[in-house]
């Protein structure tokens, strides 16, 4: 029945996005195979079209495999910052968008955002700076729909360095936020 309906609509040249609501068929009721038909139709834009991509992006792959696949931005789970800064780069934002999609799709997943600073300056200020960095990432994820219940922010300031040198390279590695999926 549904299959027929979709076929009809396609024949009529109507974009899937524009019709489902009007016909009383909710988007999330559409089985995957039909959706993939819809995906081949045309360049449907907007949120629903992206939702369709999401289904195929992570479908059928265990989280542990996804996180370890160097081909996906999900393998990027450490984000680095400039000195005394909490600004994210464009590529960081792109990677975080993928993390947000995964978290949105798998609502039982939770992440800890661990903020860190380099050793320069005062320890207590650096603890706050680590938190500020982690909160920037928390905000990016939240704006893309990730539930606050899925995110925990913890700052270690300069107390847990990644690199132990006292030089530019160590400082660069230590100014970071680590995105840790709980249980993975």
């Amino acid at each position: 029945m549904k299959l027929k309906l979709v076929g009809l609509l396609l024949a009529a040249g109507v974009v899937l996005q524009g019709c489902t609501g009007a016909q009383g068929v909710r988007d999330d009721e559409v089985p995957v195979d039909e959706r993939s038909i819809g995906g081949t139709v045309d360049d449907a834009e907007g949120a629903r079209s992206r939702g369709a991509e999401m289904g195929s992006e992570f479908a059928g792959r265990p989280v542990s495999e996804l996180l370890n696949d160097p081909a996906t931005p999900l393998s990027v789970r450490v984000f680095y910052f400039e000195y005394n800064s909490a600004e994210l780069s464009e590529s960081d934002r792109d990677a975080l968008a993928t993390h947000a999609r995964l978290l949105n799709e798998k609502s039982d997943l939770t992440v800890v955002l661990e903020g860190h600073a380099d050793e320069r300056g005062s320890r207590e200020y650096n603890l706050a700076l680590g938190e500020r960095r982690a909160k920037v990432i928390e905000r990016v994820l939240s704006l893309q729909g990730v539930s606050p219940q899925q995110i925990q922010v913890i700052s270690f300031g300069e107390e847990r360095p990644q690199a132990f040198g006292h030089d530019e390279e160590s400082w660069r590695l230590n100014r970071r936020v680590q995105l840790l999926y709980s249980g993975y």
Binding site: R120, S122, R123, E124, Y125, A128, E131, K135, S155, E159
Partner: protein
Amino acid sequence: MAMLLLLLSWQAQARLVIEINEGTEGALPIAVVPFGWLAAGATQGDVSNVIAADLARSGRFVPLAKIKMPGEPHTGLEIDFAAWRAAGVEHMVVGRVQPRQGEGLVVEFQLFDVVRGVQLSGYSIPTASSRLRRVGHQISDIVYEKLTGQRGAFNTHVAYVTVERSGKESLYRLALADADGHDEQVILTSKQPLMSPAWSPDGERLAYVSFEKGRSLIYLQEVGSGERELLAEFSGLNSAPSFSPDGRRLALTLSRDGNPEIYLLDLASRALTRMTFSNGIDTEALFAPDGKSLFFTSDRGGKPQIYRLTLQDGRPLGKPQRITFEGVYNARAAISPDGKRLALVHGDGNGFHIAVQELQSASLRVLSETLYDESPSFAPNGSMIIYATERNRRGVLEAVSVDGSAHQRLGLSHGDVREPAWSPYILK
């Protein structure tokens, strides 16, 4: 038993070691003559060594080397003042340790003005043999005050954090030692970071930050008993504790309302009052000694700088005023006991040094030359500032006199040591 031995030998290794880097011009020549030992058994360390080291460390005195001493008197009657004047000393300390009626020891000492040949001070101090170093510090305090007019701060403690890494694990310790680095006592051990020790004004408790539950929470620990309680576990950061002068409130940094702000916690009622309201980071609060204002670090203007907030009935009066303007980074202030100056971490673009800023004139002077200096803390008499820095890639503690003329170094034999907090005067 083997375990115990291991522990003991390790503790012996971990002792803080004193090195004196520089003396002061115009320091007073003094002789601290080896004390006589009239008690049973061999001498258990010479009290005079403790006193001479204390006085030298202050930068205000130059003790005469033992080899240059024209004699070894133990009482005033035995002193040949002419010979000591010829040796170039202006003052001298003599003393002896005697058995005490019943048990324990009595340390007797006398301080003389060598030029005039008169006694300036003298006490008889009952003690136990295990506490001879403490008595030495007490005598140093008396001599220092008599000759400089300023109260001595030798019989005090320094609390600090040490870290030792082995492989992927780190071991953090919260410890205290005498102000000369001896007699270290570890009061807390954790595999998670420990931070920000802060003394209560009576010197009996330490507030600090521990990550033992996975994030920064504030604890309060009785130094004597080791008993402790969890004081602040709000969502977000719990950090930078600092006591009010009356010991009844704690200033602290919490990010429970979104970003780090300063709060006051009433220790009896546990009532919390928010003191700052800004979009930036506000942290590292401390009270002025009169309790009438708070100083804290804020980057509300872009970079971290020190601000002052006036208090009225424990609440903010008006807006915080920025008080540091020199340098790109000023943070983690400590205030002198007389409330006249701040010691702070000063970033000049090349590194982070300890600097002192006079509150009246706002003039700032840099006291340290090393690049990664942090966590300054005043001696309770205001004469010295202890701070953490790095030497040969290791964390060490150094102290500098407030005028910058005298430097001393304390370092662990291994591991890093950081975040020194000089105790108040010990009243007991």
